[in-house]
């Protein structure tokens, strides 16, 4: 195990009713590391990242963040700790503009008399800068409901990066993107890593994971079945390992 994991879990489990969807998962993510998660539908990947994002509470086990045990009772707790997530369906409010979505739940406010009012101008300015840094030509006052799929994805990314996360969780971020947009997103993962942000990237596309991830974990039936360090010279060998792990066959 690397010396300074940003995040570590021990015996992490989750049951919905009587059904176990995550069984004693132990894993870690290092600082500046990009970790890939692969697995079929129902493997437990999304449940795992939603626990880390504070959406679900674990049924058992522990989470350590920056070396300390943490309990996330809500998405706010995880965000306050420095964990951001980009949801598969993006989780945006179509009737709000780009800036309002980027700052939703964490609005900047300034004092007016005894009350605190929204600092709309600063939020607009900061949203404009954030979108420009992502290369997005989107006015911050444009309604999200009027945007294309790619633009919406960028709003979601801008929201996740706005408050300088230490760990970014990306749940199938490439699922609804064109090939060009997928490459832009994967480049972004590399840039984030260079900036010191750790990333957990969920994807069904093994080739995407192999191109940007330092390690890849394969999950099946709520448990980790294999872990590899990508090597571009041994792609077919790694694919065989992953395939075996995902299908439950033994590796010959």
């Amino acid at each position: 195990m690397i010396e300074d994991p940003v995040l570590r879990t021990t015996n992490l489990s989750k049951n919905f009713g009587g059904i176990s969807v995550l069984n004693s998962v132990d894993f870690h993510v290092g600082s500046n590391e990009s970790l890939g998660l692969i697995g079929d539908n129902g493997a437990g990947k999304s449940t795992l990242v939603k626990i880390l994002a504070g959406v679900y509470s674990p049924s058992g086990g522990e989470i350590f963040f920056n070396g300390s045990p943490v309990t996330f009772n809500s998405p706010s707790d995880a965000r306050d700790a420095g964990i951001e997530i980009i949801y598969q369906d993006l989780a945006l409010c179509d009737d709000l503009d780009a800036a309002s979505n980027i700052f939703l739940g964490r609005e900047l406010r300034h004092r007016v008399g005894v009350s605190r009012w929204l600092d709309r101008r600063t939020m607009m300015d900061e949203a404009r800068i954030a979108l420009a840094e992502l290369g997005a030509d989107i006015p911050p006052d444009q309604l999200v409901g009027s945007m294309s799929g790619g633009q919406r994805q960028l709003i979601s990314v801008a929201r996740a990066l706005q408050f300088s996360p230490k760990l970014l969780l990306m749940d199938e971020p490439t699922a609804a993107l064109s090939n060009t947009k997928i490459h832009l997103l994967l480049d972004l993962v590399k840039k984030l890593k260079n900036k010191g942000v750790s990333v957990i990237l969920i994807s069904h596309r093994f080739t995407d994971l192999i191109s940007v991830c330092d390690r890849i974990i394969a999950m099946r039936e709520g448990a980790i079945k294999a872990e590899i360090v990508p090597d571009l010279d041994k792609v077919s060998e790694m694919m065989a390992i992953m395939q075996a792990a995902l299908s439950g066959e033994s590796i010959s």
């Binding site: 945006l92 409010c93 179509d94 709000l96 739940g105 406010r109 929204l118």
Partner: protein, 338 residues
């Protein structure tokens, strides 16, 4: 010389362009619903001025103002709840119960202020119950507030034994009958409430979260917003504004009765929907509701002045509501196609 003329022409064109750009911005900011309501308002004034010589009389405008203010005060809370993706059918019952409580307390010798605060408190508590059931048990707001409509109205009947309470407190009655600067006090109250809430909506988290929760409850929740607390607050606001509307009703009519304000919720919902608020949540403006209230009040007043029997008003209002819903749906689907 030619260069000078060209520069003047260019200046004029630039000035025209800047005016057009500004006009376009105002048009976009107001939106088609507000502009449509302003057009309907102008048409109403024109038609009823021709139909009745009394329509443009100052006293008639005071009547229109008094008529719209009761539903207007309640519509404020209803707009917030509907933009937030909810619904409150219990407002009419809250109005009756709050009016009866205030009347009872004032007739016991307590001050109008205590009567008012008690009425608002009752409205707030009923809103709290509505909001809590909807937020924590995820029960459909229509069902929840329909049940609350019956419960509150029933309790008002049980406690009063079905009897009306006649008000003798002159300070209480003055709120509903007196004018200030020639304008009814109830109109001042309505306009002040709309101005205050209209100023708060774009500047506070309250306003931001009304739209966010109405647009996507899930996205709001995942963004760390305590959606349950906010939903409860929206229903508390609806309860308090309904209670104030009930208080004003009693101040205007001079008596409180358990059967008062039956159907008020439908008038409020008509104003809110006609004002452009989406039944699906996430969209709407207080200005739209306010203009719709004026349109509806002038319609009722104009129909009476034109000699059209009062029972025609109900189907006409229903028709207006139906048209507003169909118009909103056509606009929504055309946007989706775009």
């Amino acid at each position: 010389m030619m260069a000078h003329v060209d520069s003047i022409k260019k200046g004029a064109t630039a000035s025209n362009n800047s005016f057009l750009i500004r006009a376009e911005k105002v048009k976009n900011h107001l939106g088609p619903t507000i502009l449509g309501l302003l057009a309907v308002l102008a048409a109403e004034i024109l038609i009823f001025t021709i139909k009745s010589p009394y329509f443009l009389h100052v006293g008639n405008f005071a009547n229109i103002g008094r008529a719209m203010s009761i539903i207007g005060i309640g519509s404020l809370g209803a707009t917030i709840v509907i933009i937030a993706g909810g619904f409150d059918l219990s407002v009419g019952s809250i109005m009756a119960a709050a009016g009866m409580l205030a009347s009872f307390l004032c007739n016991q010798g307590l001050s109008t202020g205590i009567g008012l605060v008690s009425a608002l408190f009752l409205g707030g508590v009923i809103g709290l119950l509505n909001g809590s059931v909807i937020a924590f048990f995820r029960i459909n707001p229509l069902i929840t507030t329909l049940a609350m409509l019956s419960i509150v109205r029933g309790i008002a009947y049980i406690i009063s034994g079905g009897d009306a309470i006649v008000i003798s407190n002159s300070a209480f009655l003055a709120i509903g009958t007196n004018d200030f600067l020639g304008i009814p006090i109830t109109v001042w109250i309505t306009v002040a409430l709309f101005l205050v809430m209209g100023a708060l909506m774009p500047r506070t988290r309250l306003g931001r979260y009304v739209y966010a929760i109405g647009s996507s409850l899930r996205a709001s929740k995942l963004s760390g917003i305590h959606v349950n607390r906010w939903i409860i607050l929206f229903y508390v606001i609806s309860g308090v504004t309904a209670a104030l509307a009930g208080f004003v009703t009693v101040a205007r009519t001079g008596q409180a009765e358990p059967s008062a304000n039956i159907g008020a919720e439908l008038d409020m919902i008509t104003a809110v929907i006609l004002g452009g608020t989406s039944l699906r949540g996430g969209k709407g403006k207080l200005l739209g509701t306010f203009l719709a209230l004026i349109v509806l009040a002038i319609l009722s007043n104009g129909l009476i002045l034109s000699g059209i029997p009062s029972y025609w008003q109900l189907p006409i209002k229903g028709l207006v509501l139906m048209t507003a819903i169909i118009w909103g749906e056509i606009r929504r689907t055309s946007r989706d196609v775009d």
